[in-house]
């Protein structure tokens, strides 16, 4: 469902993403791990068509994001890293706007918005202005936006970042549930999440894949039975990278 082939992004002299190749199939939740600055967000931005790759291609449901970005974008739900929202709107108003931009109108739109509000537990704040929301609600509002059109592919950039433990648990359960019928790519720093929600995980470092496998395979690779150890072994610390 997501096929990434030799995806590369060059920013000036810095190669943020270096010939990355992986696939995410339907019914699979792929955890995307790596230190800050490893190229996770850049990869996601290229898959969702926000920035063009320097070379290589990404296909979503067989549609290339380079050849037909608009068609590819209709298949993707995307949660950007900082969960950006229009602060001057209400939660319902914002979701209605997002649905309309995606061509969902009239009765269908209201149903889609209601469904998304229910899925993301936003009922309590549905009519509240977005600038009054707490971080957890902001995050979930942006997640709701990604689910409106019931996309086949979900790309979630740090969906649990800044949430409290209860909210983290809910979001993980949600990802797991949605993963049964969709292809999900999500990035995270929290290694326990891999075991809790992913069917497979890759670790990227400096734009390249350095480890790939199911959570149990990765645990085996670590030798010590701790993902933390594996992560620290295969990735570069930013203090070393600078040297």
């Amino acid at each position: 469902m997501i096929e990434v082939e030799n995806l590369t992004k060059q920013f000036g002299s810095k190669r943020a993403v270096d010939h990355l190749t992986f696939t995410v199939r339907k019914g699979e939740v792929l955890g995307f791990l790596g230190p800050n600055g490893a190229g996770k967000s850049t990869t996601m931005r290229m898959i969702t068509g926000f920035i063009p790759p320097s070379s290589g291609d990404a296909r979503v449901c067989g549609i290339s994001v380079i050849d037909d970005p608009t068609a590819a974008k209709t298949r993707i739900g995307y949660l950007p890293e900082s969960a950006p929202l229009y602060n001057d709107m209400t939660v319902t108003g914002f979701l209605r706007f997002c649905a309309e931009v995606r061509g969902i109108r009239g009765k269908e739109r209201n149903e889609a918005v209601e469904r998304a509000i229910e899925t993301c537990f936003l009922g309590q704040v549905a009519l509240q202005s977005i600038d009054t929301l707490s971080k957890g609600y902001r995050h979930r509002t942006c997640l709701a936006q990604a689910l409106l059109h019931d996309p086949e592919v979900l790309v979630l950039d740090e969906p649990t970042d800044g949430l409290d433990p209860n909210q983290k648990h809910e979001v993980r359960q949600l990802i797991k549930r949605l993963g049964a019928t969709k292809a999900i790519l999500f990035s995270t720093h929290i290694l326990e999440e891999v075991e809790a929600a992913c069917s497979r995980a890759v670790i990227v470092d400096r734009g390249r894949i350095v480890a790939d496998g199911t959570p149990s395979e990765l645990l085996e690779q670590s030798g010590t039975g701790s993902l933390n150890d594996l992560f620290r072994r295969v990735t570069t610390r930013d203090t070393e990278a600078a040297a």
Binding site: R45, T48, G49, F50, I51, P52, T70, A71, K73, T74, I76, Y78, P80, S82, P84, L85, Y86, N87, D88, M89, G93, F97, C98, E100, V101, R102, G103, Q145
Partner: protein, 243 residues
């Protein structure tokens, strides 16, 4: 269709916050105040609005039009919502058109609300209402040109204050170039060819003929091309920034 959705959101954002009301009230106060004080509306004894009323509009727009347009892209870039827009299945162009029309609508509302002065001249004298309508058209086109320039600048920066200052500087230049007193002084210093070149970027020549009730194709072409060039430039800058 997506342009319409963007248009509705932007317009909603102008009117759900104090921006539009503040601009409209200040515009009405300034335009009426100037017409009745320096414009000598009562003493001049002329039932046209050319000198007493429309003359002041470019001077007001050069300061106020950027205040309406400055947030259009600067805000999206600061809040990161540009990442949402960029991953929705819509073209940059339809977002640009929607946003531009929303800002223009705010100004159209402000202009429409100056109607009492039209009623007043009709009550006091026997004006040429065709010329007044043409004056309104000229005034609106000057405003739209300034809005388009502001939009271009706002695509370049994420800082609204920088956008405001730079756009005001550009608009002031366009008002001063081609203003009679300024070109006369300039003529003493440089050759006529330079004066002509400077005058051609000014708005007065085109505004004045419309203001006199003279509808010339060349003025339409000038205003339209200025607006279209700025909007195309906006599109180019936004795509260049993402690459």
């Amino acid at each position: 269709m997506t342009s319409l959705t963007i248009y509705k959101r932007e317009l909603g954002s102008y009117f759900s916050q104090p921006t539009a009301y503040a601009i409209i009230v200040i515009f009405l106060a300034l335009s009426m105040g100037l017409a009745f004080s320096f414009g000598n509306f009562m003493r001049i004894g002329d039932a046209s609005l050319e000198w007493s009323f429309f003359f002041w509009h470019p001077w007001i727009y050069m300061l106020l039009a950027p205040a309406v347009g400055m947030k259009l892209w600067a805000d999206e870039q600061r809040n990161g919502t540009i990442e949402l827009l960029g991953t929705f299945p819509l073209s940059t162009w339809s977002a640009i058109v929607g946003k531009f029309l929303a800002a223009a609508t705010v100004w159209l509302a402000a202009l429409v609300l100056t109607f009492p002065i039209v009623l007043t001249v009709n009550y006091l004298g026997d004006p040429d209402n065709g010329a007044i309508l043409s004056g309104y058209l000229g005034s609106f086109l000057v405003c739209c040109t300034f809005l388009a320039i502001t939009m271009l600048v706002s695509a370049c920066t994420r800082d609204q204050v920088v956008c405001l200052i730079v756009s005001v500087a550009l608009c002031v230049t366009m008002v001063l170039c081609g203003y009679d007193d300024f070109t006369r002084e300039l003529g003493k210093a440089v050759s006529p060819a330079v004066v002509n070149a400077v005058t051609s970027i000014g708005v007065w020549e085109h505004f004045r003929s419309l203001n006199r009730g003279l509808f010339r194709l060349q003025d339409m072409v000038w205003f339209t091309s200025a607006i279209v060039v700025c909007l195309l430039g906006t599109s180019a800058i936004l795509s260049a920034k993402r690459a």
